[in-house]
Symmetry: C2
Subunit: 216 residues, 2 copies
């Protein structure tokens, strides 16, 4: 297809597509003349993915380029791809190895070990866990890694739902793209669902007598 | 206590405390001389809360002031407080009422109705749900409100965990402050747990033969 049809089918303006091409977010089309090129469904899918990462999720162009490049280079290693796409892993040729000096385990280390999870040593999510536990404690709230175990068990079931959504995608690349989209785009939805569930649960526990429908 | 002790116990610099006082995030202390004032545990707790909302969660000073003011004015209505503190509800004297013109139900409306949840008509979380479903569809992913039902059921159980953490706080104001902190501060943790659970589940389903400990 021409760039105009690519624009029409993706909803992305031609000027933006040209910008993505210059920034190497999108591979070049097959040149059919000095000024025209032909694009295919791979370009369309890649364009939608880039657009979602940038416009919907607010990733920078350079981060998006890294994510897309990683998808290209590692498309047979689904586990690594998940990590790359989710920002959990920095690409490296070395296998994960613990630091030379033995260190005191962090709350995140203890949590992951208690759960029996297999998680990259370099995952930035580890710092998120540890930092938040420290912050909660500084604020005088009772919180330690044990507090998070039941949350983690629910997260396992959420991840099962996530992975189940990928099963009907046959192409591995499509599966990974879908994984990235689902993971990133569902994040605000999951937080919204939790807040609504809190509101609903709170309404059940603390009924407001002055706003009910009955006025007898 | 003097402002210096308030600073020491909260870990917030004196200059920041003075700024919060000027911005009315913190009520004035009881003046003991022309240049000194006395603060109590209420100030300490309020200071920690303001600090967490601003420095940890990145809320603006004016949003933080609104949240804190709402806590002061509605401290007996736990349900409303939850909504205010979580940004789910805009304070108003009118009860929720549906719009005059009947409108096509959005995906969020259908989801909430199917779940049987009691949620404010004005909750911005509704738009989050609807917008994301539209985005996923535009990207070619199969998604509708039914997709979210099992996620919502897990969110209910997460909210149960959240509310259970509040039960040992006796003072209602302390309970609400704790609710705000737990809800807001745990958000990045819950997303981190989901990403790690995906990584772990993905590792189980797609083992990487070249990085295992055995090399036979």
């Amino acid at each position: 297809m021409r760039i105009s049809e690519l624009s029409r089918r993706s909803g992305v303006p031609v000027a933006t597509i040209k910008y993505y091409l210059r920034e190497e977010l999108l591979p070049a089309g097959v040149a059919t003349s000095a000024t025209q090129a032909e694009y295919d469904d791979h370009h369309l899918r890649r364009l939608r993915l880039a657009r979602a990462l940038i416009a919907v999720r607010g990733l920078s162009v350079s981060t998006t380029r890294e994510v897309l490049r990683a998808l290209d280079e590692h498309s047979t290693d689904l586990h690594l791809l998940f990590g790359l796409a989710l920002g959990a892993v920095v690409p490296t040729d070395e296998p994960d190895s613990p630091s030379d000096q033995p260190q005191e385990p962090t709350p995140a280390d203890e949590l992951i070990s208690a759960l029996g999870w297999e998680i990259s040593e370099k995952a930035p999510t580890r710092a998120t866990i540890t930092d938040t536990i420290h912050t909660l404690r500084e604020l005088g709230l009772p919180a330690d890694w044990q507090t998070l175990v039941p949350y983690a068990r629910l997260a396992e079931r959420t991840a099962d739902l996530d992975l189940a959504q990928l099963e009907d995608a046959e192409d591995p690349l499509e599966r990974v793209e879908r994984a990235v989209l689902l993971t990133i785009l569902l994040e605000p939805v999951l937080l919204a669902l939790r807040r609504m569930a809190q509101e609903n649960e709170s309404a059940k526990r603390h009924p407001r007598p002055d706003t009910g429908p009955d006025t007898d």
